[in-house]
Symmetry: C2
């Protein structure tokens, strides 16, 4: 099935705004086992007509985003009617819903908005619960050029995404004959690389009938996506978990920080962080999660050596003897944070983010982590993540969060 | 001048990876006063030939990224030769540079790499200092289809970006007749909205001959871009600074955190942060800047009320009487951080990030900031940023950084 996406919007071509629709739609279609053959970005205005005409002649499905607004350069509706060689007529239900949208907000509807209720004769009008522009679906049989289905969707993500799920996905499933139980499972792993998966389980995954799979490698994270029937996906999951279950963060798209907060809440444990090289990023990621305040109470960013001594009681003699980036200092930071705050679990990290500060013995990228817990031995770990400064901070913060995850997973 | 961009890469269509090339190139071309008429993303493989053929028939310039690697689906070179109806020949300088790339890295060059030294007869080979794939420039006169210039560029950003600046930009300037002094100035503002600019200075900017301008609104930041001759841009800058100079962060693309670190370094001032609702984000943004350790020494993430009392000496009676989100608590946090750490400047922030925790008197989005400095009165400010949790953290961290910027700017 040949699918093309056309994104309209002058701002997308000026570099002001990232075009995130292309990737989002690509991912949603991949989830259904469908692929995008071509994605095209064009400015607002007249060029939509010729572009849509070309795409229709090549495609089974064309999805257009944008150009459904009330202004004069929003002409996706008109261009589609021209390609189909048909009239636009006012859809009564769409007009009522449009009037209702303004009435609820106690605003007067501008006359220019009225054209948003128009649709090609015979097309389906797709309701928009989050904006004024209804979507439009032209079924293949209405298309005199070629039996190509056309979806016209609004540009703003908060209108596009729900409309895709409610109106587009069921129609695409029917058009493409996607099995009802076909779905996607996304497994997130950390502490293991994409190449490890290739070596260990690619052959086994490829051998599973009726399942496709793909990887998405992020900084210190690999997402494995399994797409197919429920039974095939379950088989694929078993293969991945048998090989790399210890590195599995989540099966529901949840981030590592969200998983860690959830585990701490469940185990009724409070947490403090003591950061040097990550500079507060561990705390910031934890506090991105709603409800973090139930378990995360204290964070220290002891960036200067003096702060490590003053706030956490790290011995100055050890700072001098071993250096700030050392197992001993990481240990004392975690134990100091535990002692000072009286939380249940304290983690620490000290390392060399660069670009300067590296030595042959301790190159840029070196970091020591520690986890201290009441009544437990302190755990220390050395990690190495050679990246640019921001990539290093991200990768090391991931290691710190994963240290907490592994500790609670094995302990409780 | 009609310019099209073709990005090749199957991964860009699966939604694994954002296509950032489109926006990056759009922005760079805009800087030269040029516009992208169409951007097309296609998978690796055979479809490049027909796609390039169509684009060439419409365009004065086509820029292709990707497909220059050594593997069998990297066929951008071959497709271009087919569109031009010419042969590929091995470029001696390119082959030497390729052999050199491997020799330096003490690796053996695979036979498949050798095709990377090929180029259409008469084309310019564009050196790649950061990878194996040289770029290719086909001048309009070589093109039998239409006098359309073609640039073939490597996909990886760290190869693409420098090659664009060194090899593509000068050729585009010559092709498009871009005046030598034509350039772009980007002014970053915070604390003022895009609509304020529209109302106050749009008319004046539009009246400047030979200058184009555009806005890019981010969370709590507006970037104003001025493009044109040096004289016209200077005139535009004067208009913007006269109206909004107090909100100007930088004129060189520098981030607010980078500007703040630079100001602190210049004034020889050390800084501590005491954060509640931003959860470490202020510290993390500051430590994204290389050299932050010279001035930023201590950060506190006092997320729990107990942490505010224990670490910063906030009075428990005031926490109870005024609540954690109050002017009094913000003030005591900043003054406590100053006292405990003996730095020169301490800032604090306490607010309600949501989604829960709001009340009619203190709705979600409310935050109090404070700045304490040795020998100065403490400054407090109330801000309100109603957004989702992450947007709130980002916007409030921006207000905190800007409080430091304004304080140092007026004081020193």
């Amino acid at each position: 099935m040949h699918i093309e996406i056309i994104n309209t919007g002058t701002e997308l071509l000026l570099g002001n705004v990232q075009n995130t629709h292309g990737a989002w739609l690509g991912r949603e279609l991949f989830r259904l086992g469908l692929r995008v053959a071509r994605q095209i970005t064009i400015p607002d205005g007249a060029v939509i007509e010729s572009t849509l005409g070309e795409s229709v002649r090549r495609s089974d499905v064309v999805i257009v985003t944008g150009g459904l607004g009330p202004t004069s350069d929003d002409i996706t509706r008109e261009a589609t009617a021209a390609v189909l060689g048909c009239e636009l007529i006012e859809d009564e239900a769409a007009l009522r819903s449009l009037e209702n949208f303004f009435a609820i907000r106690k605003k007067v509807m501008a006359p220019t908005n009225r054209k948003q209720a128009q649709a090609p004769v015979g097309a389906d009008v797709l309701p928009n619960g989050n904006g004024t522009a209804p979507g439009i679906y032209v079924p293949p049989r209405l298309n005199p050029v070629r039996p190509c289905a056309i979806f016209l969707l609004p540009g703003p993500p908060r209108e596009l995404y729900p409309m895709f799920h409610a109106e587009v996905e069921p129609r695409l499933r029917a058009l493409a004959g996607v099995a009802a139980d076909r779905g996607m499972l996304e497994l997130k792993f950390t502490g293991v690389g994409e190449s490890d998966f290739h070596q260990a389980i690619d052959d086994k995954l490829a051998a599973i009938e009726g399942m496709e799979y793909g990887y998405c490698a992020r900084i210190s994270e690999v997402d494995l996506r399994l797409i197919g029937s429920a039974a095939a996906v379950a088989q694929g999951r078993a293969v991945a978990v048998a090989a790399f279950g210890g590195y599995l963060i989540s099966e529901d798209g949840n981030s590592l920080e969200s998983v860690v907060i959830g585990m701490l809440r469940k185990a009724h444990l409070t947490l403090a962080t003591a950061e040097s090289c990550t500079g507060g990023l561990v705390a910031s990621r934890l506090t991105d999660v709603p409800g973090a305040s139930e378990v995360f109470t204290h964070g220290f960013v002891t960036y200067a050596n003096r702060a490590k001594s003053e706030q956490l009681g790290v011995k100055e003699s050890d700072l001098q003897q071993h250096g700030a980036v050392s197992e001993e200092v990481a240990r004392q930071m975690a134990e100091g944070a535990l002692r000072v705050t009286a939380v249940d679990v304290a983690v620490s990290v000290t390392g060399i983010a660069g670009p300067t500060g590296g030595t042959p013995e301790k190159p840029v990228g070196t970091a020591w982590l520690a986890l201290a817990r009441k009544g437990h031995d302190t755990v220390t770990e050395k990690v190495f993540h050679l990246r640019d400064r921001n990539g290093f901070k991200k990768a090391v913060s991931q290691s710190v969060l994963d240290l907490i995850r592994r500790h609670i997973a094995t302990d409780t």
